[in-house]
Amino acid sequence: MRCGVVVFPGSNCDHDVYHVLKHVLGQDAVFLWHDEADLHGCDLVVLPGGFAYGDYLRAGAMAALSPIMAEVRRHAAAGGPVLGICNGFQMLLEAGLLPGAMRRNRDLRFLCQDVWLRVERDDLAFTSRYARGQVLRMPIAHAEGNYVDRDEALDALEKAGGVVFRYASPGGETAEGWNPNGSARAIAGVVNAGGNVLGMMPHPERCAEQVLGGEDGLGLFASLVAAAVEVRHA
């Protein structure tokens, strides 16, 4: 699979995602430059975490207007997989590729800690290696991850199966105490109607090697690789 990791000025998880794709999973990975309207033939596009343009406006707001984003939209419209992690998720919201918005975390502070996620969909290209109801342990690191939308929109999102990950207890229960940032309905990850654009606040790339304390994030990338192989064989 050819994977493109977009580098915006201020991206800082670009190398981490690249490392997992290239060195842990042995995929063909390249960096894509924000200012270039060219995906260089990538099958997968990753919008990595960080603080694109400093996030001095709303997080992701300026990056959503970068030249490369027009190509990302085209890729998504054609059914190509797009993964936005943390700041990348915020960009997808700002770009209108996913519904909803982000507010500051409930206690208005940056939070870096491990959280538990309940997998809500295992039928996506992103999640085939997980089982529905499985609980994953992953780090978060953000100040603006408090997902919000109108109630009707949230109902519609749930109904359409748009919620992929929810903050939960280690036993898989959703409860206020296990929701680190105050996200509506404990939503941690959202997918579009086509099932090919995923945004998530937790960092799967930070838990893809045992030496770092866990491998629960590896399944997400491995799912994408498996899906790409299937596409090729189809």
């Binding site: 000025p9 201020g10 800082n12 998880c13 190398h15 981490d16 490392h19 997992v20 975490g49 960080g50 603080f51 343009y53 400093g54 996030d55 001095y56 502070r109 940056f110 939070l111 870096c112 800690q113 780090p139 690191a141 100040a143 960092h203 790339e205 930070r206 893809a208 090697e209 030496v211 770092l212 304390g213």
Partner: protein, 737 residues
Amino acid sequence: MPSAPTARRAAATEELAAGYGLAADELERLRAVLGRDPGSLELGIVSSLWSEHCSYKSSKTMLAELPTSGPFVLEGPGENAGAVDIGNGWVAVFKMESHNHPSFIEPYQGAATGVGGILRDVFTMGARPVALLDSLRFGSLDAPRMRHLVDGVVRGIGDYGNCVGVPTVGGETGFHPSYDGNVVVNAFALGLARRERVFTARAAGAGNPLYYVGSRTGRDGIHGATMASESFDAESEAKRPTVQVGDPFTEKVLLEACLQAMRTGAVVAVQDMGAAGLTSSSFEMASRGGMGFNLRLDAVPLREAALTPYEIMLSESQERMLLVARRGREEEVVRVFERWGLEVSKVGELTENGLGRIYHRRARVAELPVKAIVDGGPVYDRPAAPPPDLERRWQSPDLPVEDPTATLARLLATPELGSKEWIWRQYDHSVRTNTVAGPGGDAAVLLLKGTEAGLGLVADVNPVYCALDPRRGGRQAVAEAVRNLACVGAEPVGLTDCLNFGSPESPEVYWQFRECVLGMAEACRELEVPVVSGNVSFYNETAGRPIHPTPTVAMVGLIPDLGQLPRAFFTAAGHRIVLLGRDAEEMGGSAYLRLVHGVEQGRPPAVDLAAEERLAALLRFLAFEGWVATAHDLAEGGLAVALAEAAFGRGLGASVTVAASPTALFSETQARAFVAAPPARLEAILEEAERWGVPAADVGEVGGARLVIRGDGGVLDADVEALRQVWETALPRALGM
């Protein structure tokens, strides 16, 4: 007889010099170097270069006592940061710096720009920053402004480091009323570079152009270096404009651009415009290479047009670098910075004449002999005198522990010994995916990708020990860092320090400084740890009241194999606990006396460096062999606190029996640690301890929901979860969060 106008001019110069903080004898020295009266811009430049902050004039003679070389040291003090060979073709570049004065005046920006400055010191050496630590000292949380200072400093560090994407993997935080009027904010950064790609800030090659890159220059931070060389008084609030404003986004972009430009081969040297801005970067870089330079201020990118030459030379606007490019290859450098959207402007060139010539609107506004100014500054051997009541301070009060269970709970409920998670949860400590052990353990552990090896990082100092016996305090800071590293199996490769003290003009403060440095030097020599970089911060005092002496030590160690890393907490029930080292019931300066009785008295524990060396060697051996699952050192609060900390990690209690009085459970005798391991390893561990000459005893077992310590004449028995609650909420509760 001088003519009247000359005398008038001389008098005006003297008045200006005094206003810039240049002493009368320093002005005379400058006149002797120049053979004439300095102009006003020259006076401004030299007063900054000769400020305590830039010139180390009161500390130089003492710093010479510290060992700075070793088989793996590539660059020692004097460069932007120290550089040590860590094998596999990698070099670790690291340094720590203080940002105490600005952080007290404006905590958010003060702390943020402290992080920014230390990161630039590392990446100017061609190293990619991969880790930050910070060592913080605050006053009593009831003191005026103190909660605001804690909140601002933590947010400032977090927002800056998080945005740049360098993890803050550890550090330490303390609280003591001596910091009520001056907080200590020490930031450490470590970067990695390939051995053949280490850069220095040595200007070379006459005719090579000087480039200004990064942010534009504004009026912020003018006089920052001189501000950091003064004590505080009632007027300090008026100094707020001398605090710089940070922009971590520009820093991140500057970092990527500098590393990329360095890879082109078209860059000769780079220096950060830190304290004293364009002045220090141009003069220091030229001086190291024995060069002169021409600098044209009209080419400096400005935020507003009307800056004077003085303001341009002394501005401490952040995120700026001065760079020497190779003549003929300038375009390659310019292209990189333009790609990243940064200012890049040719502002001058290197010359062979050894003169720093500064031009503004075609006029030469300053001409100073570079080397004579940079190396020829004043050096002071300050008078030192111990406090008259030293003997009385060393008398131990007779305050035995009566109820060890209640005492432990009380200690863990203080912000001093409580969990610091409220702080470090606000720092991204996992970005860059190298963090194997983050904040909260004995030492942070970083993975060196592509190798089996790792790095251990730690920051340590006990200011109460240093106040009571600075010699022992200096020795202890180094010894504890070595011990903490040994707990994760790391062998020290070097240290960097931040020496935070009051006014060196006070004989008692200077004595504290001298004794601390001598203590550190003894420990560094004995334990073979070179000092590769560092920083001195004097004048941390307000209205004549100095902070406790705070010689912060940040040490870096190499872990040959990460496969067997011991943890600072208990990992499995049934593991046997082996106590290493021998207690001498030393309560002087202890957390128990201070936090339970409010008594800061007694001689701090002795530091037996040979015993420390044996213990560290044993701990490294046990870690390397993979025989121990847990290793944790005994520090503030002694055995009781250390066992409780180990129990909190996974909520696993322990049952221990020791031949110790209830008081001795809180003794802070040095050179002690405990390990925990499967019972099958017990015999081998005890044998090894004997072989290395370390007293060792099998004292008990991991398991259960309670921490039980049976001693002579009392039992400590507490529910681990209840204790953990107390410990975890101590700091947020004290902050009113």
